[in-house]
Symmetry: C4
Subunit: 239 residues, 4 copies
């Protein structure tokens, strides 16, 4: 298979990973989360176990499916990153977040990772130390808890009075340098669906791109609310 | 009739309730009122007395008419909720707000209910106690008063110097638990067209979906203005 | 001619007044200037001297050309308002601003009037007394001064160091009651292209709808900037 | 060649300079950077060395390719500005920024210049003296440094801990009067990709329009963040 074959990325199905990455990046650009090439999305195709990754340094709202890189998950080997890709568009480089995205997929068993430079995430990282925390806001119920429903065996979402707690890690010079800290924080807090990177942005993941999008939007709403609460002297965790 | 028949929801008329719910949800998503599956809309078809209800946990801006549930109003029976639906799309659950929506329809005799997680409503619920209040702003004239026009017998809207007063109720763990408080507050203040749920969002209703949308937009504008006034030390009710 | 003939309002020309009113109302809705039926636009067709006026109480972003009222300017007679219209769509009422719009056309000799409930205008009316004033901001150069270019005989725009000064009048219970104050303030300050109505919104006019739109956008930008400057303790007029 | 020939500006290629200027102006209008005819874009066609320039005083979001002026770079002569243009649309004047744009092209050797009245740039110019400065925010990495990559010989971008430093020059009555100050500041700080004009807006340039757009968006994001940081008492340069 040619490294620039379009077969892996061209589909008429709007829910194909390659189409979803592009349509979501446009949506996220309009929400000011992906200005100036910032941010990115990676999706695992659950049927083929292939990973779709956005290119580096492109205008996210103009990205086309044929701009995407594809990694075959079964061949994942961090020491041979060059051989990772089964699709490499000419003239493009894969997202600097590639090692981070792949780590999330491997360590967390998730199917989609969203990274944005949301200014709410950056502001929150300046207002909170080790964790962003908020409780007693309805929207926290959109986010997963570490509790299991005894009947279904599935993770259940936070309750209204629960505290959403998102770890904040320090930024590094290069995105790949965040990988170890991301793994460590996820091992320490295995149930978090997001990590804020101080003065940088946020990574959000989920068992599907739909869930990851819902988590990302809900967290951004809560971050924005928290900043406004702080500005007006209101605690974001109710005692 | 099959529970997944499309007959009740497929129409080329943009004003059909199923189409309106979808187009308004897209619009509300763009205004940041329905991020991450939050919020919802329910409409009563005035000709057939059927209630159209959005599904739970879906991305509101992507909802299709075929995702909607339909309840036959004449068979309404809260003790037999399972038998309520005359249309149930496969793989979806009806909005958690269903009991609340149906209560609004039954108790208030309205034809449309809008629920959002508007951050303005949440912020206002942190800045006001039992009532959100604002007066002497032109936009209050878009909202109904409790006064009757002696000539037409119709309710008239607030005047410029009137005070818009929206009750605030406390949030509960589950949306159905809000039902009793919502009924009680509406019996106490039968002329309100909205109730704010503290740290949660807002419910707005009207005699038609057009009116409910106008009320919802007008209230959100007034909530946003009130927050900005508070930030700058200006009272929202003029003495 | 039937009062509901479409002849006056149906055109394929996007610059036809009926099309412009609709496309601009959609644009203004997206800028949050026309939420919940607030605001409106009226345009004088310079060729036919007919005035196009939006209906009252409709969702501005959904308005169609066939929803518009038309007044024949040559028959203008405030004492016989009923006979004003040469087009009256069934089931609609003309904008409550109609007398105000017609007064602007008659008194000011303008060709377009824009009215919005811009929250920037309302906030500014709470922060300034008799005049909103701003100077030394480049965007003031988009607005007309009272000075005449000696060569062309045309009014010239403000210079960078000039002060834009927009009168603020008090709101009244009904929009038609603003007419006298609007006339008086315009006679006193004949060169203003806008009047802010306290706790209500703004009226902006111009020799063409293009100019009125440019003035309206420029003023709203300056109002927003002024509010932000006030919040940060910066005077809006440079001494 | 007729001065109003469409040959130079009509193309089906969305990346043709004439199409890009129009599509970007629409995008920038939606971001509130080009309200009321403010701002503009000029692009150098790298193949033909022709400069495409927007007209003055038009609504930027409605601009058509046929509204554009074209200058033949090889004939550039500031003393004979009248003879500059190889395309002059009837009834339009070239942007007041034309001398500034041409100066940027000549002095800086760039291929695209973006000018906006971004309110973030204006607010920042009121909060900073000679330089806007921000450091330790991931998005600074989207902007060029003055350092050269020893391997590729290309300029490299700022690192995370580097300080982005954008000079602020004083505004003048006419845009062409900014030319000398712009040249001087660029000679003094040859590696800046932007200059803020106090109480006016910002000029941003790059080796391609794609780069200039990325720089402009990244800077505006950083300006907005800096203003929010200042409001909450946080220094924008980390000591």
């Amino acid at each position: 298979m040619s490294m620039i074959s379009d077969e892996l990325v061209v589909s008429e199905d709007p829910l194909h990973p390659a189409n979803l990455i592009c349509s979501l990046c446009t949506k996220f650009y309009e929400k000011d989360w992906c200005l100036g090439t910032g941010g990115g999305i990676s999706i695992r195709d659950q049927e083929t176990n292939r990973y779709y990754i956005a290119p580096s340094g492109v205008q996210k709202e103009l990205m086309k499916p044929t701009d995407l890189f594809v990694v075959n998950g079964y061949h994942y080997d961090p020491d041979h990153e060059d051989t990772l890709f089964i699709r490499k568009p000419d003239g493009l480089k894969p997202s600097d977040c590639t090692p981070l995205f792949l780590t999330c997929f491997k360590e967390l068993g998730v199917s989609a990772v969203i990274h944005t430079h949301s200014s709410n995430a950056v502001m929150a990282s300046l207002l909170y130390d080790d964790f962003f925390e908020i409780s007693h806001i309805e929207q926290v119920k959109a986010l997963p808890s570490h509790k299991i429903d005894p009947e279904t065996g599935k993770h259940i979402n936070l309750l209204f009075q629960d505290t959403l707690r998102i770890p904040v890690i320090e930024n590094q010079n290069f995105e790949y340098e965040l990988t170890d800290d991301l793994i460590n924080i996820c091992r320490k807090y295995p149930h978090t669906c997001a990590v804020i990177v101080r003065r940088h942005g946020i990574f959000v993941w989920g068992p599907s791109i739909q869930k990851a999008k819902i988590y990302n939007e809900s967290i951004d709403y809560l971050l924005g609310l928290a900043i406004q609460m702080k500005e007006m002297g209101i605690d974001t965790v109710k005692k």
